[in-house]
Amino acid sequence: DARVTQTPRHKVTEMGQEVTMRCQPILGHNTVFWYRQTMMQGLELLAYFRNRAPLDDSGMPKDRFSAEMPDATLATLKIQPSEPRDSAVYFCASGLPQGEVETQYFGPGTRLLVL
């Protein structure tokens, strides 16, 4: 059963530190998404890639967040410097268009706490 994997699952850090979250999409999927979920804002799309190229990152604070796909098996989301307001669960998802159906497969998330 193919799944999206994310590391680390939990991260506690201090304000000002760099945070790197990693995602391994399902093999063969050509679309990768980064979401952030908080109680106040719900699920927010931060960025997404197709065939490793960034298509949209308008939901991402540009001054401190960056997302990359060094290769087809790895996507990264970095926060530098981190702030307490970045505390949230960060989800990665991957997808593959199949005819008229397009679904996203979500990973288990990285729970980030910035002190």
């Binding site: 799309l45 298509l55 939901g59 979500f106």
Partner: protein, 111 residues
């Protein structure tokens, strides 16, 4: 951006059929309707997707009226394990920057 409106929460009992309705008055001609389910401490999981009329899979049914301004997710004979948040999304396939998850509907299934 086609936003959606769903009830914040719903209660049901085991064995009952649950219908969750989503309003999307500004749906565009080419938009599809997709429903996701999210359990606590997990990422959302795809349930069903449709464009018009009725779609059924092994998990749920999706009813879409002719004007497509709303849709109803139907869960037959729910169990305690169906307790989750259900999200209705409306958007053009492959244009994920247009998808909006909203606050979802918290379904609480009681024994």
């Amino acid at each position: 951006l086609a936003k959606t409106t769903q009830p914040i929460s719903m209660d049901s009992y085991e064995g009952q059929e649950v219908n969750i309705t989503c309003s999307h008055n500004n749906i565009a001609t080419n938009d599809y309707i997709t429903w996701y389910q999210q359990f606590p401490s997990q990422g959302p999981r795809f349930i069903i997707q449709g464009y018009k009329t009725k779609v059924t899979n092994e998990v749920a049914s999706l009813f879409i009226p002719a004007d497509r301004k709303s849709s109803t997710l139907s869960l037959p004979r729910v169990s305690l394990s169906d307790t989750a948040v259900y999200y209705c999304l409306v958007g053009l396939l492959y244009n994920f920057n247009k998808f909006y998850f909203g606050s979802g509907t918290k379904l609480n299934v009681k024994p």
